[in-house]
């Protein structure tokens, strides 16, 4: 240290100035010389004690830091130039639009330091009202997928090689020009197009290149429903039902809570009718189905009817209602009475072994609730069933429940017939260029239509993809496209509603371009980045902008649209609800199934039409019914399994029209005998590390010849095949297994009911005795006592959750949301087979009743944040401790992984990192750099050997508390929401401060239907469940 620094020659006050010469003569110095000075090694003698100690300490510290660095912490680099509006550590939210499975979702995306980390519904969206679905949540993984194509590929000498964009564009323009010159068709094959501006762009493209035909298809579609509607009402647009109004629902194999479009809105509306908790009333739901679906699990009454008999069943119901109950003046329907008189419900009931009483009640309910009863049929059923359903709704005057809302298509959707003619055109060399825009027809239609063979006749096959696919593999040119979160765009998916799509992040890879920009380049000859942005703005300016009082200039309008994400416009359909009775004549011949097995191909619940196959979150989310992950399978009934002499996991060979596939068996309680249900969308062959080889491709079975439509087949041959295949479920399904000794079996059956894990009642029973559950629970609590005279008091905020089992449909969307929020790793099928899935939140499914007529109970299960938590006292290192606001906190860095807490948890909600799962899964696939960006920076990324579990999104609580402090508010917790609650379509999950009497959760905790699981153990859980009341018919 230099001398002049030691003796400062500056002073700040006079006092300072006069005191500036310190007493150097020892007597004022507290410590002897040399002790209170800074350590200066060079000035010390060689044998100084201090030097020795200093060096010893330093070397120990160095050795310590040197040895302790077992994890590379990476680098944090500060912003060189801080972008405007980005404050490190604070999230920004942007509204944009996500197109997923033929639907457009207006979403609000949370971004941190410029990277999207969480997707939720846009609260300003009038349709979904802030809710979203699993695919939206998981779209983050698609964005950050390291296997996205990063550069154009071109087929050179039978091998796809990386080329520059300029080369690729040149080849494409040449191919287009050649097709135009030779008058050949340019086919654009896309999924359903919801963007009006893209539709306009396509028509401009057509103007430039001539015979451009757009085939926009959805693999899972409601074509048969739309066709039937067209015939019944002479209008191809069918109105959306208001699902909040009916009192009675009858569904013919229609999984309206789990499948089909508009699911988010429909679920939210449906649960308004299940208001046992709020209004002591509930709708009644009947479903007639073959396999077990989400709706089947939730229905009050479930009838087992094969998809091939649905038409007959619907006709019988119609006959009963119209002819016997004379609900409507059938004379106005002309000859229909003749048709209906041929069908007898009692004969049908007898033939198919249905309960006469139940059917009687069903008919009576429909008749009694005329005007408030809704009949629905599954999209996969043939048009004929939908015709009868339209008639039934007409008779029951359900038209009061039709809204004026419609789903919009910007380009007329292609049906399977259109694609058939495209294939025919390709085969006859009429097609010059096929342009696949983010679609995968090779995967979908290879078996049924021979699509890839036809492609070989086409000169130029161009695929625009995000990652490689079956279609891109057979293309001449493959072009990488941007993710929705990197793109500009818009959608008009609903009448009168526009959604704007804005990029939230620059394209992750240099070689990725927005397709619309590229297309504009093909039209103009020169590629220009952001060209579509200008095009979009121009289109909005001319089509949608109208100056108003608030929004005088287009810039104002644009800014507000960007901010809100949704814009309402003046757009209406003229409804036509005059029923065309003659349409029913189309069903006069009926549909008589051939002998043999029946195959029903259903939409799968998680990975869409296969497009999300490379998404680990969605692959690992369990099937809502069977809890199977990573696979599809052939679901059959126990009797069918006996008949085929197969055990679960045994491969069977299913043959339809000469096409056959080999699929493993899963024995599903409640299946109709003789029906095989398989979900489609699985079995991708070219999809990337995650998706390739997961499940079985059954698309080849979707013969176009079936009179029941492509999804239902009769006369199917099924034989036992060689070998087995492990179908992995997160829940054992042993409760119905036969080889268990009777003494044990009787105790396993309905264990969830006998242990009061699931508490249920009927609505009628509840109305008679509203306190039935309260008394039972109070009786239990009577026996609990504490060693302590006074229980711990929670002052201020105490967190709690209430889950309404009347509302929970078991859709699993909360599970995916939890994954996204809390950085939960994907573990892979093999680890799930060892019960090592990491989901903090799971939906437990229990069967009671019989194998043939199971009753399903569902229960979301997560950490119950017990007041007397059994996990806390057994942790030897205090890595899990109680927080003052009533959470079981987790200090991940302190955890050594004894796993005692996991054993002692009575709810089994703790999850252990048996490996570093990001490194373990597929050689570190989820450890790749791009996935780092997907992590929520507020949540520790757990490494191997650490226990983890739900902490009620404690990072959000902390953020809420900090926010309240910043704003100088009293923190009452009313503004904090948790991820599962945010996404829950049916608002079954309520979270909040139980000390605040006004909060929803406090009210629910005081409700008569409230109970807590395993309360008798006195662990004092803080998650309340609202007992499910089944609205079964009194006489059932």
């Amino acid at each position: 240290m230099s001398k002049d620094l030691k003796e400062p020659n500056y002073w700040t006050s006079l006092e300072d100035y006069h005191k500036s010469t310190p007493a150097s003569n020892g007597e004022f110095q507290e410590f002897p010389e040399g002790v209170s000075e800074a350590l200066e090694l060079s000035s010390m003698t060689d044998v100084s004690r201090r030097k020795f100690l200093a060096l010893l300490g330093a070397s120990a510290a160095l050795a310590g830091t040197g040895c302790s660095n077992y994890v590379d912490p990476g680098k944090i680099v500060a912003y060189n130039k801080k972008p405007v509006s980005v404050l490190p550590g604070r999230a920004n939210y942007y509204a944009t639009t996500l197109t997923e499975g033929g639907e457009a979702f207006s979403v609000l995306v949370k971004t941190r330091e410029g990277r999207p980390i969480k997707v939720d519904g846009n609260p300003d969206d009038p349709i979904n009202k802030g809710k979203s679905n699993a695919a939206c949540q998981a779209s983050l993984l698609n964005l950050y997928d390291p296997e996205r194509l990063k550069s154009p590929l071109q087929l050179v000498e039978k091998v796809q090689k990386e080329v520059t964009w300029d080369e690729a564009n040149k080849s494409v323009i040449a191919a287009l020009a050649k097709a135009k010159a030779s008058g050949k068709q340019i086919a654009v094959v896309a999924n359903s197009i919801k963007s009006p501006t893209f539709a306009k762009l396509l028509s401009d493209f057509r103007a430039k290149y001539g015979d451009v035909r757009v085939y926009s298809y959805d693999f899972f579609n409601d074509d048969s429903k739309v066709n039937a509607w067209k015939k019944s009402y002479n209008q191809s647009e069918l109105p959306i039902f208001d699902w909040s109004k009916p009192k009675v629902f009858l569904s013919f194999d229609g999984d309206f809570l789990g499948r089909g479009s508009n699911l988010v809105q429909r679920s939210a509306q449906y649960v308004q009718t299940r208001a046992a908790v709020d209004k002591k009333s509930s709708s009644r739901t009947y479903i007639a189905e073959a396999g077990m679906s989400i709706t089947g699990m939730n229905a009050d009454h479930r009838l087992k009817v094969s998809p091939t008999h649905q038409l007959e069943f619907a006709l019988c119901i119609a006959s009963e209602i119209v002819l016997k109950k004379s609900v409507s003046n059938y004379s106005k329907y002309g000859t229909i009475s003749q048709l209906l008189s041929k069908h007898s419900l009692s004969a049908f009931v007898k033939k198919h072994g249905l309960s006469e009483k139940l059917i009687h009640n069903l008919v009576q309910d429909l008749v009694d609730n005329k005007g408030e009863a809704l009949v629905y049929a599954g999209d996969q059923l043939p048009q004929e069933v939908h015709l009868v359903v339209n008639f039934l709704n007409e008779v029951l005057e359900a038209d009061k429940m039709y809204t004026e809302d419609y789903i919009m298509e910007q380009v007329p959707r292609a049906h399977i017939g259109d694609l058939q003619s495209l294939v025919a055109d390709m085969n006859t060399d009429k097609v010059g260029v096929v342009l696949h825009v983010d679609s995968n027809p090779v995967f979908h239609f290879d078996g049924a239509l021979g699509y890839s063979k036809a492609l070989t006749k086409v000169n130029s096959v161009i695929s625009v993809v995000s990652g490689v696919s079956e279609t891109s593999a057979v293309s001449n040119i493959v072009l990488p496209m941007t993710h929705d979160f990197e793109s500009w765009g818009d959608t008009n998916a609903r009448v009168g509603l526009l959604n704007l799509q804005q990029p939230l992040i620059a394209p992750l890879y240099d070689g990725v371009r927005q397709f619309e920009d590229v297309l504009l380049g093909w039209m103009n000859g020169v590629y220009k980045a952001q060209a579509y942005y200008a095009y979009l703005q121009n289109n909005w300016k001319s089509s949608y902008f109208k100056a108003s009082k608030d929004l005088k200039t287009f810039n104002d309008f644009w800014g507000k649209s960007l901010h809100d994400g949704v814009v309402t416009i003046d757009q209406k359909f003229k409804r036509n609800l005059s029923f065309n009775a003659s349409s029913l004549n189309l069903v006069s011949n009926g549909l008589n199934p051939k002998d043999g097995y029946v195959l029903e191909i259903q939409e799968n619940y998680s990975i869409g039409d296969g497009r999300n196959a490379n998404n680990g979150w969605l692959q690992e989310v369990p099937h809502p019914v069977t809890r199977v992950v990573w696979d599809n399978y052939a679901a059959i009934s126990t009797n069918t399994a006996v008949k085929l002499a197969v055990e679960p996991n045994q491969n069977i060979k299913i043959t339809v029209d000469g096409q056959s596939v080999v699929v493993p068996v899963f024995v599903q309680p409640g299946m109709v005998d003789g029906v095989i249900e398989i979900t489609a969308g699985y079995g991708r062959k070219v999809a990337g590390t995650v998706g390739t080889g997961a499940g079985f491709d059954v698309h080849s079975l979707m013969s176009v010849k079936s009179k029941f439509g492509p999804f239902v087949h009769d006369g199917v041959e099924v034989v036992k095949s060689h070998g087995t295949y492990d179908v992995i479920s997160t829940q054992e399904h042993f409760s119905f297994k036969e080889d268990i000794p009777e003494i044990l079996k009787s105790r396993m059956k309905d264990a969830h009911l006998r242990r009061d894990i699931i508490q249920e009642g009927t609505l009628d029973g509840y109305l008679e005795d509203e306190k039935f559950l309260v008394d039972k629970q109070a009786n239990k609590r009577k026996h609990l006592f504490s060693l302590y005279e006074e229980e711990h008091k929670y002052n201020g905020v105490k967190w709690g959750m209430a889950i309404d089992l009347n509302k929970c449909s078991g859709c699993n969307e909360c599970v995916v949301a939890c994954n996204a929020e809390n950085n939960i790793p994907v573990v892979g099928k093999e680890q799930v087979s060892m019960n090592r899935e990491m989901h903090w939140l799971r939906i437990d499914r229990y069967y009671s009743g019989t194998v043939d007529e199971p009753v399903v109970s569902l229960q979301p299960m997560l950490c119950q944040q017990c007041d007397n938590a059994p996990c806390e006292n057994v942790c030897p290192v205090s890595a899990t401790t109680h927080t003052p606001d009533g959470l079981n906190g987790m200090a991940y860095n302190r955890c050594v992984g004894t796993r005692y807490c996991g054993n002692n948890c009575v709810y089994k909600v703790r999850r252990f990192n048996y490996f570093n799962y990001r490194a373990n899964y597929e050689e570190g696939f989820y450890q790749k750099e791009s996935f780092h960006l997907a992590h929520n920076p507020e949540v520790t990324v757990r490494s191997r050997g650490v226990m983890e579990k739900c902490t009620f999104c404690v990072q959000r609580i902390a953020e809420g508390r900090a926010e309240a402090r910043r704003n100088d508010e009293v923190f009452d917790g009313s503004k904090v929401t948790v991820a599962c609650q945010d996404v829950c379509n049916t608002s079954a999950i309520v979270f909040g401060n139980v000390n605040d009497e006004k909060s929803d959760v406090a009210k629910l905790r005081a409700h008569d239907l409230e109970y807590k699981v395993l309360e008798e153990l006195h662990v004092k859980p803080n998650v309340s469940y609202m007992a499910k009341l089944r609205n079964t018919h009194k006489e059932a």
Partner: protein
Amino acid sequence: MNIDYSKHVSLVEGTTNLREVDDVIAAPMENPNNPRFLMALFVSVSLMVFCGGTALYNLLGFGTGTWGNQNPVMWGWPIVNFVFWVGIGHAGTLISAILFLMRQTWRNSIARFAEAMTIFAVITALVFPLLHTGRPWLAHYLLPYPNERALWVNFRSPLLWDVFAVSTYFTVSFFFWYVGLIPDFATMRDRTTHKVKKFVYSLLSLGWRFSNRHWQHYERAYLILAGLCTPLVLSVHSIVSFDFAVSLIPGWHTTIFPPYFVAGAIFSGFAMVLTVLIIVRKIFYMEHIITLNHLERMAKVLMATGLMVGYAYSMEFFIAWYSGVEAESFIFINRAFGPYAWAYWTMIACNVVFPQIFWFKKLRRNIPVIFVISITTNIGMWFERFVITVTSLHRDYLPSSWGYFTPTVYDGLLYLGSFGLFFTGVILFARFAPVVAMAELKAVVDGAQPSHHGGDHE
């Protein structure tokens, strides 16, 4: 055979020559090139290095997931093995301390070996909880050491009690063993001519000169240590049982566990001592020192403790039924008839049924029979821990989370490796230290305690 049990039985048969006692016991140490010894060492070291090493490499390299542990069954084989080895570590202290206090002089010829087995069994046992943690490199978090972050351990956790109980037990047992060894090390020092050996034995014998004062102090110290060890025999396994009993899991949450575990530990400890001794007395030609009478007495203890655990098994069932708790009664029916019924019935057969043949004198004096029963008891006691740990966890309260545990090859390799570690220790001990306490034995050979009865208490 007709033995009059009221009559004193010679503890050492066929020799009254004190020199001969020394010679026989010192022989393994002085005859290093015994091929049987080298063979045994090779086998156990190979087990330790190859089996244990492979398992360890995978465990440390990849994680706990290389074992079969899974979500409802988060404790699997490692904890089973830990309890198994700690249990084996019980016989030694029991034999040397409790039987010493009870003046059971027959213990003298087997005490040293049993103690050594205790030491190595506890060392082996300690490997498991250490490796069992998800992050073994942070296992020091379990120790209450002062640190700048003021992080402290949780004294409410039974696992922490374990840390103290087992380490205390190990320390005290080790000193007890070592104190007993001092006079024998002195004997060895005096016998050997090898320079290095002389130096080492000199160091280890702490200047022992067989003086009267030394003996006096020695006897006092030994008695005090025996007194200290005695409660530890009961406490260690009681505390190990708290790992289970303090929890909330049906099948674990049981007040009978402490005595039940202690009885089980003695049972398994005696079985292991029997197994090893039967081999050792043969290999080292010590049949006249470790006599059939010793084996018979141990067989009796085996049967008695076997009955105790049998009582505990039945009492668990009774209480499960009597309590009327649904989950509790289910767990026990599930044990007997569920997917792990095979393990349960193996346990019952090995622990309760087979030892009953010792009611017959002929059989309990039949060495091959004793040997077989000692092995089955070892198997049975391993399964007892397996049944307690795994069957309780695999189907607890929520049926949604029930599972089935299957061990992996690494579970097996680590278990084999633990045998390697244990036997390597035991074999090296037999090579470098007297396997029978020379000094103590010489005190009980016929004629060693001259009296006016001529040495016999008739």
